[in-house]
């Protein structure tokens, strides 16, 4: 396809997306105005938009606070997850011995665990970082172990005949082969890290989007509640977008398609 044809196709798909969004919001607005009554459970988009503009300062600071906890937990999950995977990959005995414990730890529902984490790490951002990390690191480990092990044995043999040791095999072969697997986990982890940060705020904090949502719920302020939801959606989408851009930048070669 030529560059001009690609651009035409991109413009066309953006146009379709914009029309779909306008149609969706329009239908929502009309339905709420027709059937919503004086105090609708789902406020009209125009009302939500007005409130967002009204409390934009609060939304921005809350969003930044929550996103910071989520991103910190996420980065920690990336580092620990990959490191753990490298250890597991290099020692199958260790992997067989310890893996079940990690699986068991993941079976504990985060809600049950969060209260304890707040007790340990307090009401500040640290406890949110811990929960975001806890929710995200294991999928990264599992995915990366699989990626590291998915190397072609013949390629490993080839590098060994050149005299490559373990570290060279890791850097020159296993890491690049593992990258597509890592990014599958990293995309999913944007969501889990954000959930971790928000749920953490519900258990104890006085800042962040999670707190904003909880307080609006207690005050039965549905408009503000929806502002919180919109803020979460925007944060989540931005987070995901950054990871996808990073993936495109780092994975320039045609890799096996792992997307579901």
């Amino acid at each position: 396809m030529t560059r001009a044809a690609r651009r035409r196709r991109a413009v066309a798909s953006v146009a379709v997306q914009a029309m779909a969004l306008v149609a969706f919001l329009g239908a929502w607005e009309v339905l709420v105005r027709l059937f919503g009554g004086p105090k609708p459970i789902v406020p009209a988009p125009s009302v939500i938009a007005a409130e967002i503009v009204e409390i934009r300062g609060l939304l921005l600071s809350s969003g930044a606070y929550t996103l910071a906890s989520a991103v910190e937990g996420y980065v920690l999950a990336l580092v620990v997850g990959v490191a753990l995977a490298v250890v597991f990959e290099s020692s199958p005995a260790l992997q067989r011995g310890l893996f079940p414990f990690f699986v068991a730890s993941q079976a504990v529902p985060i809600i049950a665990f969060s209260a304890v984490v707040i007790l340990w790490f307090g009401n500040g951002p640290l406890s949110k970082v811990a929960i975001a990390f806890y929710l995200s690191f294991f999928p990264v480990t599992v995915s990366v172990v699989k990626g590291l092990q998915s190397c072609d044995p013949m390629s490993v043999a080839l590098l060994r005949t050149f005299g490559a040791g373990r570290l060279q095999l890791l850097w020159k072969l296993r890491m690049p082969v593992m990258l597509p697997f890592l990014f599958v986990a990293l995309r999913v982890a944007t969501t889990t890290a954000l959930i971790g940060a928000i749920v953490g705020e519900w258990f104890g904090d006085n800042r962040g989007v999670g707190t904003l949502i909880l307080q609006s719920l207690y005050a039965e302020d549905t408009v503000r509640l929806w502002c919180g939801i919109v803020a979460c959606a925007i944060i989540g989408a931005l987070f995901y977008l950054v990871v996808v851009l990073l993936e495109r930048w780092l994975l320039w070669w045609p890799a096996p398609a792992l997307d579901a």
């Binding site: 080839l158 005949t161 005299g163 020159k172 070669w253």
Partner: protein, 268 residues
């Protein structure tokens, strides 16, 4: 003068649940410095096992040893260039960076390795393709990149395991001629596995025929044809006679392994 590469009583037996399977029986071979030896044999004769042992990927059974320049080599890893049948190019590396990976592992600085690759890339028919990624190349070109990678790796001995096995007949014959030419320019000691008897004679100074499993040396013939060899040599009388002799030996072995299979098969 000692041979460049000596295999002394190299054997391999694999342990499986139902007992032991002998894949390679004690095998002796000497390859002179600068010699091009080709090995042919029926499928499953243990050629690849032999290569894995020589490359250092598999230990031989106790009692066997490998000698380089007459001295026992504890491990040949990092000392012998090995090229498997598949190109095994890394999709995230350009042609140039794929070619220099062996040098990189040997510790040659990247800039120096690239310079050396660029010096000879033209001889490999890859001029102007240094910055291409492998997915943009044809099968024949990928195979030439893989050969370049093996050539650049600093080793005096090269093992080539059916490097042209997966290519179409035309590309294959062009690459055979080209390989003979490159080998004449860069004096290397080469052991080359193939299924193709014509290829074995066309390229080799000596052809080794292996027996059916367990693999042993069945026949060894010197190819007296003068170099450089032209494609027309394959219809010359000495070439045809050699081919007939080798094909007879292989056929005998293939029949024997086929018969063995039939007696091994459970009755009924």
């Amino acid at each position: 003068m000692a041979d460049k590469l000596t295999l002394r009583r190299i054997a391999k037996t694999f342990e499986v649940d139902s007992g032991r399977v002998a894949v390679l029986e004690p095998f002796d071979l000497g390859v002179a410095d600068g010699e091009f030896v080709t090995i042919v044999g029926p499928s499953g004769c243990g050629k690849s096992t032999l290569f894995n042992i020589v490359a250092g990927l598999l230990p031989p059974d106790p009692g066997g040893s490998l000698l380089i320049d007459g001295r026992p080599a504890a491990s040949t890893l990092g000392r012998i260039g090995y090229m498997p049948q598949r190109d095994l190019l890394f999709p995230w590396r350009t042609v140039l960076d794929n070619a220099v990976i062996g040098l990189e592992i040997q510790g040659v600085p990247r800039a120096e390795a690239r310079r050396r690759a660029l010096d000879v890339i033209g001889q490999f028919g890859l001029d102007g393709f240094a910055d291409y990624y492998p997915f943009a190349l044809s099968g024949g070109m990928k195979q030439r990149v893989a050969l370049l990678r093996t050539f650049l790796f600093e080793s005096e001995i090269m093992l080539l395991d059916e490097p042209f096995g997966a290519l179409d007949a035309l590309t294959r014959s062009i690459l055979q001629e080209w390989l003979a030419d490159v080998c004449a320019k860069h004096r290397r000691t080469i052991v080359f596995i193939t299924h193709d008897v014509e290829e074995a004679i066309f390229l080799g100074d000596r052809v080794i025929v292996m027996t059916a499993r367990p693999g042993r040396l069945k026949l060894e013939v010197a190819v007296g044809l003068e170099r450089p060899r032209v494609p027309a040599v394959v219809t010359s009388a000495p070439f045809v006679a050699l081919k007939a002799q080798i094909l007879d030996a292989i056929r005998e072995e293939s029949l024997r392994s086929f018969a063995a299979l039939r007696t091994e098969a459970p009755p009924g």
